[in-house]
Symmetry: C2
Subunit: 230 residues, 2 copies
């Protein structure tokens, strides 16, 4: 079934914006009378939509989205270079993160503008649509690593570093109620940052024995978490 | 320690090629007398190298590489579009694959030329260097999916499809001696291909309940395998 993210769902007719209209009539070639599922990833609501003209649809009563994540997973990432943050949002959304926070760290060279958050939120909605997920993660730009660590309420907390203990020691010790992972930027975390994470009950863990690129970490680590929880 | 892939290692002096010389003197600014580790990822050998001039190094006696993979992992992938194959080689190398085979499948649109194999091998060597791995996977272009399935000797075999059983049911059932995974191209596998895989003792498995993009599969699935084996 074709799915299209849409905000403020409510029963009745509505106008599509230009991007939505293009998606409905050009990308999927839907015609008057065809149906799709409209979903609001932030409210985790969805409804049936029927095309009534090239620019208008009729929405049914809303219902709770199917395919929402069952486990709260926070993904904290030291601001990476270039457009790697886009790929990180895409991978982390696809693999179940419910909150993604980019943070400035000692070795992070990039300092994304606050306006990037809107772009990341759009990428997250689009990734949710692609992977058939009915909700989307909140994406934030943290003020500092310390501040972000303090904001985490997860019961199982992991800070990724090649010097850590095997990730399985933490993930397989007990079923997690909620998870938080912190991954460094290209140069990794400093000793001071690892200490700060430890003080906030994060366990320093590694996945495998090789050095992982910063942009590979979300898919590899969340894939590992999915093995146990999916 | 700086590491540089180099073929046919043997004790004594040798000339660097242009790319190696650039890497040594421009990228890492090594000077006469500085040392690095030269490694041959295909032979899984390494040795110490000392810079004797801008274009020449002196190699020590070779030894078996440290940081070689301990588990044989075959990664079979339906030929993806565009340059996704490059990213797949990079991710699969970083996460421990020892053999990567791209195969034509019913829904694979791309038909890479045989010459791409040399490019993929170069990407694999470079990824091995980056992730501090002393060996590199063999990369092949399979003649057909059937032929590639027949070539697999792994004791644990997984074919990825959203309709499968949870991956943990197979990976956590017993410790694997050797692993093989098959992932479809953008459109996934056909029912016929899943049947062919099953006939070759592959178990159809899913990781999580969402739809994974073809290019996310290697990092997520090999990350999951690393959780158990790393």
């Amino acid at each position: 079934m074709i799915r299209l993210p849409m905000s403020d769902l409510c029963e009745g007719e509505r106008e599509l914006d230009a991007a939505q209209a293009r998606y409905v009539s050009r990308v999927h070639r839907l015609r008057v009378g065809d149906c799709f599922v409209a979903f609001d990833p932030h409210a985790a609501l969805e409804c049936d939509a029927e095309v009534v003209s090239a620019r208008r649809v009729r929405l049914s009563k809303t219902r709770a989205s199917t395919h929402v994540t069952s486990l709260a997973i926070t993904w904290i990432h030291g601001c990476p270079k270039g457009d790697k943050a886009d790929a990180i949002v895409r991978d982390a959304t696809e693999l179940g993160a419910t909150r993604i926070v980019f943070v400035p760290t000692a070795r992070a060279v990039a300092r994304p503008a606050a306006a990037r958050v809107e772009r990341w939120a759009r990428i997250a909605r689009e990734a949710a649509r692609q992977c058939n997920r009915g909700d989307a993660p909140v994406v934030e730009l943290g003020a500092s690593f310390d501040h972000t660590l303090e904001s985490v309420g997860a019961t199982t907390r992991v800070c990724l570093d090649p010097r850590g203990v095997p990730l399985r020691d933490v993930l397989m010790a007990k079923p997690a109620d909620s998870l938080a992972f912190a991954a460094g930027p290209e140069g990794g975390f400093t000793d001071g940052e690892l200490r700060a994470a430890t003080q906030h009950a994060f366990v320093v863990c590694r996945l495998g024995t090789r050095i992982m690129r910063t942009e590979t970490a979300p898919a590899a680590v969340l894939g590992a978490a999915l093995l146990l929880g999916g």
